[in-house]
């Protein structure tokens, strides 16, 4: 079986949180150090399976292959519909915070 899961370091958890853009609280980070160690241990049984020369499977069903539909123009959502759920908008645009700096100019 798997050995006792080793806690992730705080830095490891913070690095992953930054990659997926989730601003976790210190308390959540503490919990995730254990939780993620447990999850990693759970999937570590895969390392014991010999897969040399085995092709990876993306979709498991032969009958599924990416189908292209005919290139015919058809109605799309209206601008009003697209903007219906926008948290912040300006005219027909989504409004976002400053991307490049702290927004102070």
């Amino acid at each position: 079986m798997t050995e006792q899961p080793k806690r992730l370091t705080e830095d490891e958890v913070r690095r992953v949180a930054t990659l997926c853009r989730i601003g976790l609280s210190d308390e959540e980070i503490e919990h995730l150090r254990d939780d993620m160690a447990g999850l990693i241990a759970e999937v570590s049984v895969l390392q014991n399976i010999d897969t040399s020369g085995v092709e990876p499977t993306g979709h498991a069903v032969e009958e599924v292959h990416s189908v292209m539909r005919d290139d015919i123009p058809r109605p799309a959502l209206t601008v009003a519909d697209v903007l219906l759920n926008a948290p912040r908008r300006e005219g027909d645009y989504f409004r976002v915070p400053a991307v490049m700096d702290d927004g102070q100019g």
Partner: protein
């Protein structure tokens, strides 16, 4: 039909009553809306109830019935899990992230059922973004099991299963990524079918793990599952992974019995962690099918044991990519007043997602991150190939594999806190998603008053065979006639 019995009638019986003019579509809808108002405060199976739309749809269904243009679903009410887009009706995925999200379009299944004359009662409660096995991760409220309100209905389609079991909806659509239709169907004593991957369009199903997600019916009878499949299965130009195969009628051959059907028992599914009583009821059900004329043999699937690990690499990985879209810009929860985009993203995703969703995004991000990709994601995809091949080989020898659906009966709310222990609930159901094959759960008895489910698995696109075998078993047993006390 007797008034007090309406809510436990099958879809077929309700349809017959509508066509015979014993009841109107409006009366049938109202009977359900009333029952929801009376009971769902305790069950928690709905996140939204839609009387306005429901009455509108009931009126047009009645016109179709009156003019002789009704099909078997016309005028029969139903529910949709709250991860299926409904135009003009909030679709929250049981997440704060989508609390006020009103889709500007219908999912393909939503319009398919509307075209079949269905009457929408509302949206079913679920685990947040379909991540969970108990409906306890819903950001709004837990759903409860109608057989025992202290217990979970399972998940993630816990709302749909509780609604159908409790007579709060004649049928519902759920989604199944690792067992999320079959496990709650088992816990609630109803029928749940996960079709072959690609058989039902995923367009408008809010994505969790795209190579595994599949929509299917939760019903009180096997025949009802066939009727619903007739309406929702088929190719869709809006889903590039939908199977291009002409629609078939799943009620044809349903009653042909199991004489000569080759059934495989898989010893790996009766091992450690399976409640001995669940194992006993499963073996009894197999014996019953043998008495009905099926031929039973043993088939070993050693790699099935690794399916759970494959699942808990692939599904978080795909979820971390799919849920990257929740950025607080285009729709959904958004934190105002952040000084810059990075801070806005981090605050939005911290505030909008619950802890289970965060945990899975984190795990998936870790598995896909530089230096770990080959060890986790690619390795899991390779083991997926081994599991798929093993099923392919099994289905050369047998037509149907029979296993328990879940290791135990429904557990109590709050009973399972450790995520890894929670995952063990999916041990019997996950392999079907990994291999893309269909699976159905049908009730096969009770333990201490709690339902137990029997799982039948078949080769790709063998839904008609699964339904036929499940129907033969159902008709030979009394379980589908039993309902919760209230």
């Amino acid at each position: 039909m007797a008034d007090q019995q309406i809510h436990y009638q099958s879809v077929r019986q309700m349809s017959d009553a509508l066509l015979a003019k014993e009841i109107s579509a409006a009366e049938l809808a109202d009977a359900h809306f009333k029952r929801i108002a009376d009971l769902d405060g305790r069950v928690g199976s709905y996140l939204a109830v839609t009387p306005d739309l429901g009455h509108e749809q009931a009126a047009s269904a009645q016109s179709a019935i009156d003019s002789g243009n009704a099909g078997p679903l016309t005028g029969v009410p139903m529910q949709l899990k709250d991860n299926m887009a409904t135009r003009g009706v909030t679709t929250t995925c049981a997440s704060l992230m989508l609390e006020h999200f009103v889709p500007p379009y219908d999912a393909t299944v939503t319009s398919a059922l509307a075209n079949a004359g269905a009457v929408l009662l509302g949206k079913g409660n679920m685990d947040e973004f379909a991540m969970g096995s108990s409906t306890e991760t819903s950001a709004y409220k837990p759903a409860r099991n109608p057989w025992d309100l202290d217990r979970v209905p399972g998940g993630s389609s816990g709302g749909p299963a509780a609604s159908v079991a409790g007579g709060l909806a004649p049928y519902s659509l759920g989604s199944d990524t690792g067992g999320s239709i079959r496990q709650p169907a088992s816990f609630c004593g109803i029928v749940g079918l996960k079709p072959t991957y690609g058989l039902v369009s995923r367009y408008g199903l809010i994505a969790f793990a795209s190579s595994l997600d599949q929509i299917g019916p939760l019903t009180r009878t096997v025949e009802d599952a066939a009727l619903v499949m007739n309406a929702i299965a088929g190719p869709d130009v809006n889903d590039s992974t939908s199977i291009s195969r002409p629609a078939i009628d799943y009620t044809v051959g349903l009653k042909d019995g199991v004489k000569g059907l080759r059934i495989g028992i898989v010893p790996e599914y009766f091992g450690e962690g399976i409640d001995p009583e669940v194992a006993r009821l499963t073996r009894e059900a197999i014996k019953q099918l043998e008495e009905l004329g099926a031929e039973v043999s043993e088939v070993s699937l050693p790699n099935s044991k690794a399916a759970l690990a494959v699942y808990y690499v692939l599904s978080p990985s795909e979820c971390s990519a799919n849920l990257a879209r929740y950025d607080g810009v285009k729709y959904g929860f958004s934190t105002p007043d952040a000084p810059n985009m990075m801070a806005a993203l981090e605050a939005t995703r911290d505030g909008g997602f619950g802890i289970e969703v965060k945990r899975r995004i984190m795990m998936g991000t870790y598995a896909l991150s530089s230096g770990y990709y080959d060890a986790y994601y690619k390795k899991a995809q390779q083991v997926r190939t081994l599991i798929r091949r093993e099923f392919d080989a099994a289905f050369e020898k047998v037509d149907v594999l029979i296993t328990p659906t879940t290791p135990t009966t429904a557990f109590k709310l709050g009973e399972i806190q450790d995520p890894v222990v929670m995952h063990a609930n999916d041990v019997c159901t996950v392999p079907a998603n990994i291999a893309g094959i269909p699976g159905i759960s049908v009730p096969c008895g009770t333990i201490d008053g709690l339902p137990v489910g029997l799982q039948l698995l078949g080769a790709h696109l063998s839904e008609a065979t699964l339904l036929r075998a499940a129907y033969a078993y159902e008709q030979a047993t009394p379980w589908h006639t039993q309902h919760p006390a209230n």
